[in-house]
Amino acid sequence: MFRRWLGGLALAISVSIAPVWANENHDVYSDDSESALETYNRAMFDFNTGFNHYVLMPVAEFYRDVTSPFVRRRLRNLFDNLQEPVSAGNYLLQAEPKQSGVSLSRFVINSTLGLLGMFDVADAWGLKQEQTNFDDTFAKWCIPDGPFIVLPFIGPSTPRAATSMALGFVMDPVYWSTTNDANVHDKVTYGLAAVYAVVIMEENMDLLNDLEKNSVDFYATMKAAYMQNRKNKGCFNDGAQSSAASYDFDFGIDETTDY
């Protein structure tokens, strides 16, 4: 249910912002902040920040207190393992059959010998974890990312990222293996999504708090960092382009006074 709701939400947002998207100059380097989307984004960002501070972070804090790093690692591995079929499918869509085979083998080996994925047995056999997702696939297909958009609870996203996430949820093995009992399906998907949110928050909250403390405009910082991080995924049309940042760092300064 939760995941279906997410999918619907992503779709609704992609459709409703499509006209904005067409007009907006979504260059990450430009600092044009006068737009309807920006007003919405900032409001939603504030809401999410509040939610994180008052709900998600305290829960993540508790989770950290009652578990050891070893236990947290096992849980994280479990979630990572559930992503392997998504990776396997997407590697196929990216014309990388070999990598697809690696992901699939990892899923089979770790789900059985690795106790539902809690232990990464396949890694020791030379099958290294290299995850991919629908977003990487769409980037490969040269589908544009679209503007920065803040989703309720989920946080920073873009139309392409949101669509990819919704597709990823549906392809998750837990999702399709529980569909025949609606009751179980809802509980399992709701529960897993909530636990996953806590696991991810536990890993990231120190960095998030640090960033917030050191920034004068947390929203602008997050937007710039998020959008840059998504660049250079490499599209089939790019040819052999360098992946290094290529922004212009000569800014015509006439004076070079030392301070």
Partner: protein
């Protein structure tokens, strides 16, 4: 036709090497390697008080990074309209805030070794990218790219790009957004940065 392609290719190659001649890529990488080694050996692994560590870090930070250059880029178009006093105050506050922030976070690099992976030419004059990666506790290593500027025999870091995220561009976006909304523009920014550096 084939000949034409080869000629163009050679011309291109010559062009590229001419543009790169201003930067000694190997030395630039050596410079960054020295900076990171200095940081790990003489600060993180050194058996001295935290205060001494902070002082050493500030010294290394100020000698390795060209904060004048970075600060001017970060302030963007507001640099041009700022008064000399504002410029000076901004660079000072920005420098102190960064030293403070990174000094605290620096210990996270304990026990990790940068692996250097060669250089990539840059479109900007006298600059080159030094590529490296840092092993993470779990999963794949993090990609760290250093933008290095050469001035004669002198090298300075002018940007650090972690997993595609440029610290200079991020700060530039952040500060432009802030200044646009702040009633007293750059002055408010300087005051906020000073406060963050003081904490």
């Amino acid at each position: 036709m084939k000949k034409y392609i080869i000629t163009t290719f050679c011309a291109l190659l010559l062009n590229i090497s001419a543009a790169q001649a201003a930067v000694d890529a190997a030395k630039a990488q050596q410079f960054v390697e020295n900076v990171t080694r200095d940081g790990i050996e003489n600060i993180i692994n050194a058996n001295v008080s935290q205060k001494e560590k902070d002082e050493r870090f500030a010294k290394l930070f100020n000698s390795a990074l060209d904060m004048n250059f970075i600060g001017q880029f970060v302030l963007g178009r507001y640099w041009r309209t700022a008064t000399p006093a504002q410029r000076e105050a901004f660079i000072k506050a920005y420098r102190e805030m960064n030293v403070k922030t990174w000094s605290k976070r620096f210990d996270e690099f304990k026990g990790r070794d940068f692996k250097f992976l060669g250089t990539t030419p840059s479109n900007s004059a006298n600059q080159v990218f030094v590529n490296s990666e840092v092993p993470m506790p779990e999963g794949q290593p993090a990609k760290v790219v250093w933008r290095v500027k050469q001035d004669g025999n002198n090298f300075k870091i002018v940007d650090i790009i972690i997993e595609n995220v440029s610290l200079a561009i991020t700060a530039r976006n952040e500060y432009s957004a802030y200044i646009k909304k702040a009633p007293n523009g750059v002055d408010d920014l300087i005051k906020d940065l000073q406060q963050k550096a003081g904490k």
